[in-house]
Symmetry: C2
Subunit: 336 residues, 2 copies
Amino acid sequence: MGRASGRAVTISAIAAEAGVSVPTVSRVLNGRSDVAPGTRERVEQLLRHHEYRRPSRRQGHACLVDLVFDDLDSPWALEIVRGVEEVAHSAGAGTVVSAIHSRASDRRQWLDNLRVRATDAVILVLTDLDGELGAELERLDVPAVAIDPAGVPALDLPTIGVTNWSGAVSATEHLIGLGHRRIAHISGRPGLWCTRSRLDGYRAGLGSAGLEPAAELVVEGDFGYESGYRAGVHLLGLAEPPTAVFAANDQMAMGVYEALRRSGRRVPDDVSVVGFDDLPSSRWASPPMTTVRQPLTELGRMASQMALRMVGGESIEGPRVELATELVVRESTAAR
Amino acid sequence: MGRASGRAVTISAIAAEAGVSVPTVSRVLNGRSDVAPGTRERVEQLLRHHEYRRPSRRQGHACLVDLVFDDLDSPWALEIVRGVEEVAHSAGAGTVVSAIHSRASDRRQWLDNLRVRATDAVILVLTDLDGELGAELERLDVPAVAIDPAGVPALDLPTIGVTNWSGAVSATEHLIGLGHRRIAHISGRPGLWCTRSRLDGYRAGLGSAGLEPAAELVVEGDFGYESGYRAGVHLLGLAEPPTAVFAANDQMAMGVYEALRRSGRRVPDDVSVVGFDDLPSSRWASPPMTTVRQPLTELGRMASQMALRMVGGESIEGPRVELATELVVRESTAAR
């Protein structure tokens, strides 16, 4: 990522140009509410125009790393926070965690906050990495890394993802190896690359065993528990139900557990279930879940290391690294 | 919390007194490794002696709030982060998340990082709130709030907890109302106040119905899944097993689910199970878990609000607030 050359515009210069006092500019910078809207807008325009930044505290050493998510409501967010924090903390840097709820206003607020706190590097865990965001970060002169378990081809940023396709192949091959032939797939939210690559991996796994996936055995979910439950109910209602279900994430697999329980069936005696993620709670599921492990904490650690190296002036090679997923066999799958 | 009067010692004065250059002092402040150990120690002693602080960016407005946990490996940490972040983000402040792993070295490092980043307020989620920590925070002149779902009577800090005892009473009364008489309790980690208050609540609930808790029905756990599983196996092996189990947290309750499944029993048909916490994953358990909800996100929100008000110069009344817990009845409990 290119770095804008830092221009040394001062708060006094901004104040003079805006025709306001220096404290007023400070109040705008600090996000205080006691500034008239028109004044705030004029000052903010000038701050942006002159690419004003707080004097940085950095000297090749990061003090703050910003880690931003769409939402903090999935347990996997915590796994990533843990990895980022572990590396940043040892290096003396703080990990600032934010959620922007896929809303433009929250993103704007976050970018403003970023400028005020003079953060040293940014780690993005967002499904929507558009060019405008890249341009904003470049303007702020903040190096950025993206963690992308979803597999979005995006900005020209160093990106760390996971091998979604291979993970799905290994889940499917595991079920085939146990003798299953009618294997269903509950896919993730439509339009995401991880959804597509897991579905493709499922198909490839079947294909390599000479099996053709029946159209009725692929049901669309949205990564939510409820969608997994509904898909499970639907699959069990088929004239010839599947003997195994591979869900594109653990939460949907939990929904399948519940659909089976309510219909009086047992996991894995009646139907085998495989998830994707390996959330901590999947180890505690009853029975403990066979699932494809995403190395989420490792993703966080690596992103943190890359971000700190970039702050130190190193350039990071290559636009994308993929960490391996791994099938973890527990007790939700059994021989047919 | 009292505030030390800020003395305006400069980096140059520290450098002169230590007999080193200003950049060397900066390197120590920034936690860089390229400083000789003896020099680092001398400089750090002087920084502490003179109570040096980075010039604050605050003007009655928080830029950074530090949120520190013992560990980030429990899903409930994310619930708290979400609440703190929500309030801080809207106020233009960043939420710095750290884990100190109950280790003195990590705590030292965290306090050093805190000083370097000139954080504006601190929210503690630590089981060990000793006087030394309080003194350090006072020296750094950083207002602090404690979130304490565990119920530790601790420092003279504004503290937000939950009603552990009442929650345990309501869980026990719920089971009694369903006709259960042999109700077991799996207690939490010994020595914690929340463990004690939940156990007392269980006993009080039984007592109010004229029941005497059988000693064999109280089994010690440690809040971990495995300890819940082992306690479950033990209870099912009794000559007269319980018909209901109240575990002191959801993770141990999940262990009881698994003990029941492995012994060929069903929840709630054979044994009713109640947890404590209401983690998101407990809604997805199969069957969905009846549990005592701790308002974790709300704890985070309130702590964040209090911290921001303290930065703004308000003093916070009262040493401790307790938010209500609430029994959430789902499908893991049934009439006897």
